[in-house]
Symmetry: C2
Subunit: 390 residues, 2 copies
């Protein structure tokens, strides 16, 4: 696995019972995964020679992030290295423009979007949406005004995560910022959604696929805070529609491994695709304690073309809440407190140094009473962060 | 952790989410645990210097086997190394004579036993039991005859496991074998038991303790084959008695960490202690998938003096069956078959080379229907071993 973050750490953990020899390419010897894996190569994933040497002796190469240059992936594939997901599929998780093109070409509902050239173009994109909305509305009419159709979401097509590389802009002045890096920018309508959902599926090379229950994902400041499995009060129809959509994306894009499809549930009862991730994903961490087979185990089973494991839930409700670093670098006493207060709490720490706002772990709770299950996860995450003292 | 076997491998796996920096002393670099642990020292656990160097930088030293010489443990403790369980407690798991003495001194019911000097002494031990049985019986009477009181169980006091170092002898001639190694031999009555049970408990330095449900353990040829959790048709009274007994042994002997108490359930409804193990134990492997907190996680939490995790079961029934090596060294295709046949099967492989009869992994199954749960585990284990082809 390329990338030494917590996803690789937890994938290794899931591979131990499967008897898998796990080899890691990590930026540094103290990265989250490098702390716990036996076979670690320290090197730069942006360097083709490093990747080539790492891939030697691997049956399959997979990833804990989307940042490996696409041209390196293609070079390795041309040399016969087995990469899963493959470069063609992975491009759609690396490049938000390519992702939107691919999804649109297979008729997947997405927010209105296009690549924009500069702030003026953003204003034009905004106005197009405003005009469309007006023409669709009985109250419509009138000429183009400055600020029409804003706010607009701007995203750098590559490299963003956890709210980084994403801006919500209200006029052309604010729209200037994303262009400063000189990289392509994608504009999207700001969807009037009631909540965010995620549909997680796993697909193997011979086409077997499994779908996890659709979850609700609650973001705070653009960062995933809490995931509830299954999404409360989601109609069977919309749930099945979201699962079918994710399975169809996996199949049409040729995804191998875990695919997370982040969705908006709109006020008028539709679902639109927000983002794709082709790897284990924060919205699937609940599966470690809440499903028969975790997303990490199924990602490994998929990329190694082993039969997939049962994705069904083990509890009525499972809640995952991320633990962010707070102002206190030493979480030890908070850790003791949380373990003592709730012996059924499932803590997953990443071995990372605590920095304010950094994801340093997550907690899972499960049970029959959703309010109680949510409260337990909330309390533990807040206590570990230091925002409450009891 | 000292010892690179599957218990250390699974303990490391359980330590990853807890954020524990796990260091291993392993006989070789390809031992089961050494394959998956980052921080491995290869060395001989019988060498005090090696142990001393290994212990440097460890907060706590614990063990995946009982074979570290007691005098080395005492030397390290004298130097301030924190060893859990400590040498005094561990001696009772290392030396079956010391174990029997300790249990008898705290009034724990055990089979009749004593250290024997030679085959003649074994005959005398057998006759004592026979005389006691006769005097207790209304049909009793008559003088001592050759073969009276046999069969007798003989055990070397140190080094035995999985049926090794244990003999069932029927006369003085057969009784000669165990003495050939020149080590002390313990004689025990052959208990007329209806089945074997195990009571697993975990105790931490500040005295917190948890008890897992009492399980039934089914042995084949002296090796654990299947564990059923909880033990079917066990009366609440006997179950509570077994748990109290195990908690009391842990407390009286000062055990820190996981304690497995192997028990005989006698025909007349009593329980007698067979063996003790002060580490994660085969009778607790079901907890990985069947309990809220696994024995491995709780062993770590105990030796690090963290609050203990919830030991309660997550399913009505959980069954563990060991996978033994068969005649085919490559289990890959059998592995595919078992995963495809039963997507809910939980496989735990140890990364060991297959040798006939060697424990190379185990499977866990769980559900509401015991017959079905047992059949699934049985089928997978037999298929992986190669004794069935479907």
């Amino acid at each position: 696995m390329v990338g030494g973050g917590q996803l690789a750490r937890m994938t290794h953990e899931a591979g131990i019972p499967l008897g898998i020899r796990f080899k890691l390419l990590s930026d540094g010897p103290q990265d989250s995964a490098a702390q716990v894996v036996s076979d670690v190569v320290v090197g730069d994933y942006r360097d083709l020679e490093t990747l080539r040497a790492f891939a030697k002796g691997c049956d399959v190469v997979t990833f804990d992030h989307e940042h490996v240059p696409t041209e390196h992936l293609r070079a390795l594939e041309a040399e016969g290295v087995v990469i899963r997901p493959g470069a063609d599929a992975l491009l759609r998780a690396q490049d938000k423009g390519a992702m939107r093109d691919a999804l649109t070409s297979i008729d997947v509902p997405c927010p209105r979007h296009r690549i924009v050239a500069d702030p003026e173009d953003v204003a034009a994109f905004a106005a197009e949406g405003d005009a469309a909305a007006r023409s669709a509305s009985v109250e419509g009419g009138g000429g183009r005004r400055e600020g029409e159709g804003f706010p607009i979401v701007l995203k750098t097509v590559r490299g963003g995560y956890d709210g980084k590389g994403v801006w919500v802009v209200h006029d052309t002045e604010e729209a200037a910022e994303p262009f400063k890096a000189g990289v392509p920018v994608l504009a999207e309508e700001k969807v009037d959604f009631v909540r965010e959902l995620a549909a997680n599926v796993v697909r193997s090379p011979h086409g077997q696929a499994v779908a996890y229950p659709v979850v609700e994902s609650i973001q705070v400041d653009g960062v995933c805070d809490t995931v509830i499995a299954p999404a409360p009060n989601l109609s069977e129809e919309l749930s099945a529609q979201a699962q079918r959509l994710a399975l169809s994306i996996a199949s049409e894009l040729g995804v191998i491994g875990h695919l997370a499809v982040e969705l908006f549930e709109t006020r008028d009862g539709r679902i639109l695709v927000n983002e794709l991730a082709m790897r284990p994903h924060n919205s699937g961490h609940w599966t470690q304690d809440g499903a028969v087979t975790s997303q990490f185990a199924n990602h490994l089973r998929a990329v190694l073309d082993l039969p997939l494991g049962d994705p069904r839930p083990r509890a009525r409700w499972t809640v995952m809440t991320n633990v962010l670093g707070g102002d206190y670098p030493d979480m030890y006493h908070a850790y003791l407190h949380c373990m003592a207060r709730d012996p059924a709490l499932k803590i997953h720490m990443y071995g990372k140094d605590v920095k304010p706002g950094r994801k340093v772990g997550h907690v899972n709770t499960y049970g029959d009473d959703l309010a109680d299950v949510r409260e337990r996860a909330r309390h533990a995450a807040d206590y570990l962060r230091g925002t409450i003292t009891e």
